[in-house]
């Protein structure tokens, strides 16, 4: 069985996603993964789910005599998953305070609405996500791999 399909079924069995979401994810998976040809090399497509969020910045602006400044960040998506799960164990009183503080700063984000199953779908859709900013002196690239 395909690794990703098994993962979706595990999530369904664990109650992390509902049958409708599982169906949508499997449909997206089938759309992404064409049926293997007979006799063809059937390497598993583990690359369907991105593993890392990458941010690469090259900045030549400013006062640097020894070359451009570079920033290279690689954040595992597992860390985001763990962070969301961490948010789920925040006591409700504290969550309300966080929501109020975010609201005061103009960020309309409700921590109660952030759930691991929602994040899985977002991560899956991020596989083709790329932000490429390239002006004369600076380059910023945000992508998933």
């Amino acid at each position: 069985m395909n690794e990703n399909r098994k993962r979706i079924l595990d999530m369904l069995a664990a109650g992390q996603i509902n049958p409708e979401q599982a169906e949508r994810l499997i449909a997206a998976l089938e759309k992404e993964t064409p049926a293997p040809q007979a006799g063809a090399n059937t390497e598993p497509r583990s690359s369907a789910w991105p593993k890392y969020l990458r941010v690469v910045v090259e900045a030549e602006e400013g006062h640097h005599a020894n070359g451009p400044a570079k920033v290279n960040v690689r954040v595992p998506f597992q860390l985001l998953r763990a962070g969301v799960k961490l948010a789920s164990i925040i006591p409700p009183q504290a969550r309300m305070k966080v929501n109020d503080a975010l609201h005061e700063h103009g960020i309309e984000l409700d921590l109660n609405q952030i759930k691991p199953e929602n994040l899985e779908e977002v991560i899956y859709q991020l596989k083709d996500f790329t932000v490429d900013i390239d002006d004369k002196k600076n380059k910023v690239r945000v992508f998933c791999e």
């Binding site: 593993k51 890392y52 640097h64 005599a65 020894n66 070359g67 400044a69 570079k70 920033v71 290279n72 960040v73 690689r74 954040v75 595992p76 597992q78 860390l79 998953r81 763990a82 962070g83 799960k85 961490l86 789920s88 164990i89 006591p91």
Partner: protein, 86 residues
């Protein structure tokens, strides 16, 4: 699997970067007795905050595990910093 090692590099005397390797696994082993001693306090805190204790521990365990492969590198002529966790 929890992170076993990491490398870090910080600038010394502005330009030169001093890289060093930090084995994290021995740190986990050294902190294990402290964690075990603090376990009852964590349990009480979880019960007070109405958080399922095992779920809470599992979440923190997953958080530590997910630090593997984290990489942050800043290469600036004035101050270069690099942190990698394996």
């Amino acid at each position: 699997m929890i992170p076993a090692s990491s490398t870090a590099a910080f600038p010394i005397r502005r330009r030169r970067r001093f890289p060093f390797w930090i084995p994290i696994l021995p740190v986990w082993l050294l902190t294990l007795p402290i964690v075990l001693m603090l376990a009852p306090l964590v349990l009480i805190a979880c019960l007070y905050l109405r958080v399922p204790p095992f779920h809470g521990v599992a979440v923190y365990w997953q958080l530590f595990n997910s630090l593997r492969c984290l990489r942050i590198e800043v290469n600036d002529p004035r101050a270069s910093t690099s942190i990698r966790i394996f």
